[in-house]
Assembly symmetry: C2
Homo-oligomer: 423 residues x 2
């Protein structure tokens, strides 16, 4: 008699909830011991990992997986190195759990403050890249959470082999195995169960394509930390130093086309468009970036005519839309209307203008004189990130250890009573 | 031709989104001017408010509304005073919007920090008490958000009259009327529309009975800040000073039976149960509190036999369940299993014990030597509260101005580029 998927997921959920109480109160030293031991286990299991990965790759090739997907799936020696280094880096990060802030006396005589604590159980749903197993597990473990990991079926052997190394780490630190659980079934119903168990799961982090994220957001009965589009803008103001603006815009687009912080639309103030655009366009054209422009842009440089749809598109490719705007107001209006509230930058030396841009652009990261591709947990000093949130509640922008925790109130008294004069 | 409810709500939503951009960048002075002017308008409109309220009360009586509901509905002169004072208090609170923290240089040369900003548009769904209109509108306005208020149909005239006063305040401060909108239709479909418009509404705060909150949580496509049960505990440890413990437990239960921070279950360590319970029980009995005890409790004092259900019940009434536990571990276990993660308190002078209780009890407020009824925005120094959240994400515990805001990243550079050596 086999167990139903729902029963299986319920068993995982219950075990995760139990384990979350133990990892939630584990000492920093114990958590770091587990992370270091898992790193050692990975290092010792290279042959095992490659063999498991080869099974996935063979199956992928047999199933006609696209080359880009196969590339993502591959656990190369460099990627195994990366996972080991990643674990040791997370071990070295400060532990956010237990920090108490702002304890202050109230008129009643009680002291009130806040303490940072783990969220509890984090469910991660992701696709193909097996190294996400390590990223997610290590950040959750360090922040005192239990994790349920649901990777793609195409990476199941790799994920199991990685999970075995994490289990060795947990065992060496005397932590229960259920602190990190990998969903062993490739049945799709497992995702449906995972995202509808608020009694066992406190938050879901989907990592993958837009289809996955939209489906999870729509069906979840558990809060979701998610990232939809990265339609990022650079606005070159009339008060920009143009050579600096050109360097910033070029880097924002070309540092990597495929990252969510890549610039997709360049806004240029009409006052400087004639001076700025020709040299900028030449540099992009030399790099092979296709330019799509508004009418005013096309009166200055050669570009494909941009359609209304271009302003709402995340290309993740060597394509850039360019719009000439009347000034700061129109730039802010364009960004708030067409952007994805991810990351947007102004290039300007005018203090009043940058002050307004920062206050009024409604994005997770708002930048001055710097390229949008800096939107990244490592660059921001978080040490690592579990994703970049485009939500406003709880976590906004790159999510690191702090985003995997919350704060509860701590109240300390010595017999004060409510509704009575304090002693 | 009448407008459909969906079209009407879409119009409200779109207007709120537009207005949110204006109130989001309004100065503190301008927002305070609106709040003070609204307070003056309420003061000048007492007759108008009473007349509108009388219409609601008459309709309520005709429809056979229960006396307790009629009492909640009544806008007495004292309640009007309360609304006026409340507006002036919110005007006096510090403005959370725009605060920048933790700006620091990163190795790349960029500076990264966080800025506090409004959430955008807040939808409030509430029942009967018309003064919630003022509480909610004032907190949202001060925190730079636009609000859509959906009160109960039984208070529609009162809510409209209050809204008219808020409109006068907004007009005097040159702020658009759509900053605070009251849903004018009593059609239930309006709620369904409000909670499924993520493009126009950033967060929903339901305030009312459990049925309302559960329905909103289930159907919402927008994040919800909610409060379900308040099953609060006081644990009297073996290291408690018993007279202090008795005063705290008595206050926790009897300060007000109907508030969510009222103690519903008293846990007593078996080592002190015999010394503690008789005098405690006598005091409760004198006050008319019904006691329901576990077997060990009933071996010491007279009490109704508690059923399994009692440990999971929020009485909001002069009823108390009492359980004798083996010690700290069992107390924490009981609270995390049966509590509602709202507010729980330990009475103990043992430092190691209180340290563990604070770290391991998974509740929005964890207290030492103080009654659970202190769980309140005013007592915590928030100035006012829009509710008490039992969620873990975003806002936990009493939610004030800060809970109506979020933080975005601010990144400032001077031409630094990613992937290149800093200058």
């Amino acid at each position: 008699m086999t167990e139903s998927v729902l029963d299986y997921m319920t068993r995982l959920g219950r075990a995760a909830r139990e384990a979350s109480r133990i990892i939630g109160r584990a000492s920093t030293a114990q958590k770091n011991r587990a992370l270091q031991a898992a790193a050692n286990a990975l290092d010792a299991a290279r042959a095992e990992l490659s063999a498991a990965n080869e099974l996935d790759l063979a199956a992928g090739r047999a199933n006609g997986l696209e080359p880009v997907m196969l590339e993502r799936l591959a656990l190369t020696p460099a990627r195994i190195d990366g996972m080991i280094v990643g674990l040791r880096q997370v071990a070295a990060l400060p532990d956010p759990v237990g920090a108490i802030r702002d304890m202050s006396y109230r008129p009643s005589g009680i002291q009130v403050g806040k303490m940072r604590v783990p969220l509890g159980v984090v469910g991660i749903i992701y696709e193909s890249r097996p190294n996400v197993t390590i990223d997610a597990a290590s950040l959750c473990l360090k922040s005192g959470n239990a994790t349920i990991l649901r990777g793609g079926s195409e990476a199941i052997h790799s994920n199991r082999a990685i999970a075995a190394c994490i289990q060795r780490g947990l065992a060496e630190a005397d932590l229960p195995a259920a602190v990190v659980q990998v969903v062993e079934t490739t049945d799709r119903a497992a995702v449906g169960a995972l995202i509808t168990m608020p009694e066992f799961v406190d938050v879901i982090v989907p990592r993958g394509g837009k289809g996955l994220i939209e489906r999870v957001s729509r069906d979840a009965r558990v809060p979701v930390i998610k990232h939809l589009d990265g339609i990022c803008h650079v606005y070159v103001s009339a008060h920009a130093e143009l050579p600096k603006a050109q360097r910033i815009a070029f880097n924002a687009k070309t540092y990597r086309y495929g990252i969510c912080g890549a610039m997709e639309t360049l806004l240029v103030d009409q006052a400087v468009a004639r001076d700025f655009l020709p040299s900028m366009a030449a540099q992009f054209r030399e790099k092979g970036v296709e330019l799509r422009g508004c009418e005013r842009t096309r009166a200055i440089i050669e570009a494909v005519a941009a359609t209304q749809e271009d302003w709402d598109t995340e290309y993740l490719a060597p394509i850039l839309s360019i719009r000439v705007v009347d000034g700061l107001d129109q730039a802010i209006e364009h960004i708030n209307r067409h952007g994805s509230h991810h990351t947007d930058s102004i290039v300007s030396e005018h203090q009043g203008e940058t002050r307004r841009f920062v206050a009024e652009v409604d994005s997770a990261s708002v930048m001055i004189n710097t390229p949008t591709c800096f939107a990244d947990g490592f660059e921001y000093g978080l040490g690592a990130e579990i994703g970049i949130s485009t939500d406003k509640l709880h976590a906004r922008g790159p999510v690191g250890l702090e985003g995997l925790t919350c704060e509860k109130y701590i109240v300390v008294g010595d017999g004060q009573l409510r509704g009575q004069e304090p002693v």
